[in-house]
C-alpha cells in the first residue's frame, strides 16, 4: 500500500466512521467529493456476495441499468461490531436475495456507495444507521 492509498483508506474509513459518530454534521462530509450524502439513491438488485469484515462490511449486488446492462455495485456498511448492535449478522444477506438498496453513492458516478438501508423481498427492512 503506497502512501496515497494508505491515506485514501483513511479517508474512506474516516468517511464511514464519521457517519457513525457525527451524523449531525453529515452535510460536511459531502465536501470530500467522494460521496454525495445529500440524498440516498434507490436501486433494485440481486445480492452476489456479502463480506462481513473489517474495516467495513461490503455488499455486492447486480443492478440492470436503463439499457439492460448489468452493473456490479458495491456498498459498504459500518464494521461488523457496530452492525451487530443494529441487529445485523453475517447471515443477514445471501447470494440471490432480491433487494432494494438505499445508499449514498460516489459523486463521480462509479457504482460504489455507503449503505443507508436495505429492504428484503419479504419487506423486512435492515437499517444501516
Amino acid at each position: 500500500m503506497n502512501g496515497n492509498s494508505t491515506r485514501t483508506v483513511g479517508i474512506l474509513f474516516a468517511l464511514a466512521f464519521g457517519l457513525v459518530v457525527a451524523r449531525p454534521v453529515l452535510a460536511h462530509h459531502g465536501a470530500a467529493g467522494l460521496y454525495d450524502v445529500s440524498k440516498a439513491v434507490m436501486m433494485k438488485g440481486t445480492i452476489t456476495k456479502f463480506e462481513w469484515t473489517n474495516p467495513h462490511n461490503q455488499i455486492y449486488f447486480d443492478v440492470k441499468d436503463d439499457k439492460g446492462n448489468v452493473v456490479h455495485w458495491i456498498v459498504a456498511t459500518e464494521p461488523p461490531q457496530v452492525m451487530l448492535e443494529r441487529g445485523w449478522t453475517r447471515r443477514s444477506l445471501k447470494e440471490g436475495d432480491q433487494v432494494t438498496v438505499y445508499a449514498f453513492v460516489a459523486s463521480n458516478g462509479a457504482p460504489v456507495g455507503n449503505l443507508q438501508r436495505l429492504v428484503l423481498p419479504d419487506g423486512k427492512e435492515l437499517s444501516a444507521r
Binding site: V21, L34, A110
Partner: protein, 272 residues
C-alpha cells in the same frame, strides 16, 4: 545567661523547622511517589458491566472540550488552556470527522496508520468498554483493537517510566463508587480526541470512573500537561450499561483489509 542560650537555641530550631517547611512546600513531589491519597478507601466500587457511550448525553462526540463536544470551535474553546504551540498544532491538524474534517488530507495518525488511539481518544470511538476488577489490578478492555490497559492497585509509578502509547497507570477507590486512575509515562504520538488536540510526554491524566446507578457510569478526566497547556483542564464521557454482549466481533485495524476496502470502494470513487 542560660535563658539567652535557651532562647537562641529555640530560635535556631524554629528557623530550621521553618526552613524545612518552606522547602517542603516548594518541592514538587515526584510523580513516582504519588500514590493513593488519604481519601482512598478499601471498599471496591462495583464497576462491572459492559459500558457503551451514552447517546443521550454527548454520545461519542468529536472533541474532549466540555464547551464544544461537536468540535465546532476547534482551537478557540473557552475551556482548553492552550500553550501557543498546542493551539497552532491543533489548528494545523486535519480531522477525519466533525465540522472541520478534511477527508482528503486527514492527519490523524490513528486513521492513517492504524496506530493505537491511546487514552482518552479511545473513548471517542463507537465501542464498548469493560472493567475487570481484581484485588491487584483493574483491567480496562476496549472492543477496538482489541486494546486493554492495566491499572495497578496498591502501587506506585516507576521513577522514570518509559514513554508508551497507554502510559503507566495506578489506581485506587474513593467514595464507595469511584475508581481513580492516575496515568503518566505517555508517549506524544496520539491525539487526545478526534479533532487533533495534542499532548506531550509530560501528560498526567487522572480519570475518575464513577458508577452513578445500576445503568450509568460517568468518567471525569483531568488533563494535566504543562508541555501543551497552561493549566489542567477537564473532560467527561458518559456511559450506559449494555446487555448485548462484549466483543462479539473483533474490530481490528488491518492494513491488508484496509487495502481491500480501498481497492473496492475508494479507488472507483476517486477517479475523475
Amino acid at each position: 545567661m542560660p535563658h539567652r542560650v535557651l532562647l537562641s537555641a529555640t530560635a535556631l530550631m524554629a528557623l530550621m523547622i521553618f526552613s524545612l517547611v518552606v522547602r517542603a512546600q516548594n518541592t514538587v513531589p515526584s510523580r513516582a511517589q504519588a500514590g493513593p491519597p488519604p481519601g482512598a478507601t478499601s471498599k471496591v466500587a462495583d464497576l462491572s458491566g459492559d459500558w457503551a457511550p451514552d447517546p443521550k448525553r454527548g454520545g461519542i462526540g468529536q472533541s474532549l472540550s466540555l464547551s464544544d463536544n461537536g468540535g465546532r470551535q476547534r482551537g478557540n474553546e473557552t475551556d482548553i488552556p492552550y500553550l501557543p504551540w498546542a493551539r497552532e498544532k491543533t489548528l494545523s491538524e486535519r480531522s477525519s470527522t466533525g465540522p472541520d474534517l478534511g477527508f482528503a488530507s486527514t492527519t490523524d495518525p490513528q486513521v492513517l496508520y492504524c496506530e493505537p488511539p491511546g487514552v482518552p481518544h479511545i473513548y471517542l470511538w463507537p465501542i464498548k468498554t469493560k472493567l475487570v476488577q481484581t484485588p491487584e489490578a483493574v483491567y480496562i478492555l476496549h472492543e477496538y483493537g482489541p486494546f486493554f490497559r492495566v491499572v495497578w492497585l496498591n502501587s506506585k509509578h516507576p521513577e522514570d517510566p518509559d514513554p508508551q502509547w497507554w502510559g503507566h497507570s495506578i489506581g485506587w477507590y474513593e467514595n464507595d463508587n469511584t475508581l481513580v486512575v492516575d496515568t503518566i509515562g505517555f508517549n506524544d504520538k496520539t491525539w487526545l480526541d478526534q479533532v487533533g488536540h495534542p499532548h506531550t510526554e509530560q501528560m498526567h491524566l487522572i480519570e475518575r470512573y464513577r458508577r452513578v446507578d445500576k445503568n450509568t457510569m460517568e468518567l471525569d478526566m483531568t488533563i494535566d500537561d504543562p508541555g501543551a497547556y497552561t493549566k489542567p483542564w477537564n473532560a467527561r464521557r458518559n456511559f450506559i450499561l449494555s446487555t448485548t454482549g462484549f466483543l462479539r466481533y473483533q474490530q481490528i485495524c488491518s492494513v491488508k483489509e484496509n487495502q481491500r476496502f480501498f481497492d473496492n470502494l475508494a479507488k472507483p470513487a476517486i477517479k475523475k
